[in-house]
């Protein structure tokens, strides 16, 4: 019986805390320096980390820039759209 209770608790937690990704997609217009600056402003990332994400967007077409709860992910996407980046919220796999 104790094992069953633990399993039920785990399932409930998974259902409510499904992580979500904030994904930024490449576009050929936004300047690299601009995108780096936006990542630093929105997420408070270091210059190195912001540049790493910017280069990932540039070379691979997309970068997961943040991961966590849905509500915060949406708020970040809104901020990124405010800076005119192509950003989406996606369920983490």
């Amino acid at each position: 019986m104790p094992e069953i209770i633990v399993e039920q608790e785990t399932k409930t937690k998974d259902a409510t805390d499904t992580p979500w990704n904030v994904v930024v997609h490449n576009d050929p217009v936004n300047l690299m320096s601009y995108v780096t600056r936006v990542f630093r402003k929105v997420f408070g990332y270091s210059k190195e980390r912001a540049e790493r994400h910017m280069l990932e967007v540039h070379h691979k077409g997309r970068s997961i820039v943040w991961n966590g709860q849905r509500e915060r992910a949406e708020a970040y996407v809104q901020q990124l759209h405010g800076y005119l980046l192509l950003a989406t919220v996606e369920k983490s796999e």
């Binding site: 217009v29 601009y34 405010g82």
Partner: protein, 162 residues
């Protein structure tokens, strides 16, 4: 055209010829997207890539109006700075002072213009990286505009980093 920090609070654009005057005046107009569906779609993109229609609709209803206000505010800062520019007195070149505290708005308005023009004229990544064509058609002019605004953006970004 020369761009330099005049003092702690001001960036000066000097040696602005008539062509650059016109391009500066076009920033605000170029960023307005209501009559251009492709440009509108780029500035107000789907937050789910169309995977969640209900979420996208809520976004349109509740988030887009705020974004629209934010974008308009940036354009209005630029519009106000250019209200009496260039001055009526003819000259070989002109100068424009921009308060440092307005640079964020300028950068944003320039970005709106670049993205809107690129979407309207459907510039490819290849075209964006290539040299600007010599042909004097509207598309070539728009590509020149995108690059000129990019140059201004880069200069202003550096001013904010210094």
């Amino acid at each position: 055209m020369l761009i330099r920090r005049r003092d702690d609070q001001t960036v000066e654009l000097s040696g602005i010829d008539l062509l650059c005057c016109e391009l500066l005046q076009q920033i605000v107009v170029s960023g307005q997207v209501d009559d251009f569906p492709a440009a509108r779609e780029r500035l107000y993109s789907s937050p789910s890539h169309g995977r969640e229609p209900e979420f996208d609709q809520d976004w349109k209803d509740y988030v887009e109006p705020d974004l629209r206000d934010m974008f308009r505010t940036s354009r209005e800062v630029v519009q106000a700075a250019l209200k009496n520019f260039p001055p009526k007195k003819p000259a070989d070149s002109y100068a424009l002072n921009i308060p440092v505290k307005h640079l964020e708005a300028w950068i944003h308005a320039l970005n709106q213009a670049r993205l809107a023009l690129s979407a309207r004229f459907n510039f490819t990544e290849h075209e964006m990286e290539d040299a600007i064509p010599i042909e004097g058609d509207q598309r070539a002019l728009a590509l020149f505009q995108v690059h000129f605004y990019g140059f201004l953006q880069e200069c202003f970004l550096r001013q904010l980093e210094d």
